[in-house]
């Protein structure tokens, strides 16, 4: 059974023309640990231009020099960089069979009613899940509008000039230790360019063209919304994604040029062995809007603070996020809003739920530079604790160097209220259902922003989490 899987995957590899099937060099043995040799190997296999190869190598030096962040979660210290594979070809990844996927995850797929083919993909057993029909007809429409929607590797090959112009301009390799790591070993991710004035009506979903690489360990996404355009990108899925790679570190860069609207929606639900350390940042130019809608359910540790730098007059930034932490999990999430230009405004809404001794933290920054007058910013974080053992902290930071601003911050921590439960149960509703209603109500501001199928699955998943039947 596993054999068959393997052949299929190789065939897919051919279609994708990734170029790593060079006969002379077919035994690229991925080694544990990170060396210059590994980075060169990656770049060579991808047949990358010289500048990218040099970029990777410079990033590697930075990574090796930079100390681990001293803030964040104590769990960070557990990461053993020498014991990690930094590049795995999609097909190599597939020595696995369905039997290797943990039982609790299989049960969750079943309860969510996820189709067979998709289960295999999510379980890491097959290398890709592609809804051919949807994707290809979608692609035609997009092409007609001049929209580019590719995986990052293909983007670099097919549109080297655009990539070179914008790549790492929002998040330089040296931004932090994990962005340096990603810059050195990145693979997969999405590349999107929306031309001037084009309004992409339907959300672009990575989901329909996803493969093991762009859901991979070190994905790299770059989205450019040119002047006056608008686009909504959605990636990830609510169902748990089983990964045997314990370290995931993505970099996502968004560029919203004058008057454009860019929205990025993610839901991540990595299996609970994963350290998920993501750098996400957008630059919003004059009158442009960037909205991050970000949901974090899985992983052992997530550290993720989507940010928006508002560099042009009248720009708007928004982060709407939820985090769910169960047993043994720490969700350290938040947002950064950096107001560089006058008349810019931002909103942060962060919701977290902790259960069974899980821990959530909100870590946020609102920065207003001198001269950025008339700035408005509103921060709201609400934490819901399901029991006495769970924990939630907030670490809000405000750096305001301008007087003429309007900045508000509100934070609440609540338990699922006895009065709320009594009110609902006094109408005949069971305590379990009432709890679920309260929790779903709590995250409703988030769910209502999601496309229906995601919202339904998210609610279902929260239900399974509440029943304690999710691994």
């Amino acid at each position: 059974m596993a054999e068959k899987e393997f052949t299929d995957v190789q065939d897919i590899g051919k279609d994708y023309k990734y170029g790593f099937k060079d006969p002379e060099k077919h035994v690229f043995k991925s080694k544990r640990g990170l060396t210059r040799e590994v980075v060169e190997e990656i770049s060579w296999m991808k047949k990358e231009p010289e500048w990218m190869r040099n970029f990777r190598l410079r990033a590697l030096d930075i990574f090796l020099k930079k100390p681990m962040p001293t803030w964040g979660s104590p769990i960070l210290a557990e990461i053993d960089f020498d014991n990690i594979f930094y590049y795995i070809k999609p097909m190599e990844n597939q020595g696995k069979s369905w039997d290797d996927v943990p039982e609790d995850i299989k049960r969750t797929y079943e309860k969510l009613g996820i189709p067979e083919a998709e289960r295999k993909f999510l379980g890491g057993v097959s290398a890709q899940y592609e809804s051919e029909v949807v994707y290809h007809s979608l692609r035609k429409d997009l092409q007609a509008q001049g929209v580019i929607f590719l995986d990052m590797d293909s983007g670099l090959r097919e549109y080297p000039d655009i990539v070179k112009k914008y790549f790492a301009t929002v998040i330089p390799a040296g931004d932090n230790k994990f962005s340096a790591l990603n810059s050195a070993v990145w693979s997969g991710g999405s590349f999107i360019y929306v031309p001037k004035g084009v309004d992409v009506k339907i959300p672009l979903q990575a989901y329909f063209r996803i493969n093991a690489e762009n859901m991979g360990q070190f994905e790299r996404t770059l989205i450019i919304a040119d002047e006056g355009s608008s686009v909504h990108y959605i990636e990830g899925c609510t169902a748990p994604v089983y990964s045997t790679d314990s370290l995931h570190s993505a970099v996502v860069e968004l560029i919203a040029l004058k008057g454009s609207k860019l929205r990025y929606t993610t839901i991540q639900n990595w299996s609970k062995n994963v350290y998920n350390l993501v750098t996400k940042r957008g630059i919003a130019h004059e009158d442009a809007t960037i909205r991050w809608v970000d949901g974090n359910l899985g992983s052992k540790l997530t550290m993720k603070y989507p940010s928006v730098y508002m560099v042009g007059k009248g720009a708007y930034g928004e982060v709407l996020s939820i985090a769910f932490a169960g047993k043994g999990q720490h969700q350290d999430a938040g947002a950064k809003m950096v107001h560089v230009a006058p008349g810019t405004s931002s909103t942060i809404v962060s919701k977290s739920i902790s259960k069974d001794s899980g821990r959530t933290s909100y870590r946020g920054l609102v920065k207003v530079y001198k001269g950025a007058t008339g700035v408005k910013s509103n921060v709201r974080c609400d934490a819901l604790l399901m029991d006495e053992e769970s924990r939630s902290d907030t670490y809000p930071t405000m750096e305001i160097d301008e007087e003429n601003v309007n900045v508000g911050h509100e934070a609440t921590v609540s338990k699922v209220g006895e009065e709320q439960l009594f009110y609902l149960t006094s109408r005949g509703i069971s305590e379990q259902e009432a709890t679920l209603m309260i929790v779903n109500g709590f995250i409703e501001p988030f769910t209502k922003e999601l496309p229906l199928e995601y919202a339904v699955e998210l609610n279902r998943l929260i239900q399974l989490e509440m029943e304690g039947s999710v691994g």
Partner: protein, 256 residues
């Protein structure tokens, strides 16, 4: 017509956070009867309402309560509701993010023990909302979230109209209502009154009783019923105030 008790309370003592609030309360309500319970602030009216519905914070230290012949003090609130007991809250709790529509549908499903088709439910909801003069958009709002005083009370009566209980406790459903809203709410309650429904109407003022005629009026002072009578009692209370009953109890206890 032989009288059949729907609710019977015997020597009920209730404490909250270690403090005794109800101090030996007796009350019997028969099917089809409307009983008004009046009394000064803090006398324990809401405590009685909560304890009958099963609020976990209120401990029954002694006494018994029968509903339709069955002792109910060990039952959970949702089990009591499923048997036909209903409480219209004095201070309804906001539940952000949960719409009135979803809530009512879940409640009706729980109480009836089966799902009713969406279409039938919508029809029922629309009809009841119209009768209570509640606007259509109301059902998409979040439960008690940002409701005005009047909206909260109408919402309570809407729930009662949909769930069709057999024993309803209305805790100060009249307070905070202007006269028009009061009439609408009273209209809603009166429509439900019938030979099978028992009502305990908790109120602070006589005003409500102009619209909903009680068969009996009881006066609660300091955790005990000190006076019971016909609907004339309410008028007397209005005239003389609660001090009159308090004085009366004091003399009573002296006489003992």
């Amino acid at each position: 017509m032989s009288k059949e008790p729907i609710l019977k309370i015997e020597d009920l003592h209730v404490a909250v956070e270690g403090k005794e609030i109800l101090k030996g309360l007796n009350l019997t309500i028969n099917k089809g009867e409307v009983h008004a319970l009046m009394g000064p602030n803090g006398s324990g009216k809401s405590t009685l309402a909560y304890v009958l519905m099963g609020h976990p914070k209120y401990q029954v230290t002694s006494g018994r309560v029968w509903y339709k012949g069955e002792e109910i003090l060990a039952l959970k609130p949702n089990e009591r509701a499923k048997k036909g007991l209903f409480l219209a809250f004095q201070y309804p709790t906001p539940i952000p993010g949960v719409t009135v529509m979803n809530f009512l549908r879940a409640a009706l499903k729980a109480v009836q023990g089966k799902e009713i088709p969406a279409k039938d439910f919508l029809k029922l909801l629309k009809e009841k909302m119209k009768f209570l003069e509640i606007s259509d958009q109301f059902s998409n709002r979040y439960i008690n979230d940002g409701f005005s005083g009047g909206e909260k009370k109408r919402h309570e009566i809407l729930q009662m109209a949909i769930l069709e209980p057999e024993m309803a406790i209305l805790d100060e459903t009249d307070s905070g209502l202007d006269i028009d809203a009061l009439k609408t709410v009273a209209k809603g309650v009166n429509r439900l009154i019938g030979p099978n429904l028992g009502i305990l109407l908790i109120t602070h003022y006589q005003r409500m009783l102009n619209y909903i005629k009680p068969d009996f009026v009881h006066v609660l002072v300091d955790g005990k019923i000190v006076q019971s009578g016909g609907d004339k009692l309410a008028l007397k209370l209005e005239e003389l105030g609660y001090d009159w009953t308090v004085e009366k109890t004091e003399t009573l206890s002296v006489e003992k």
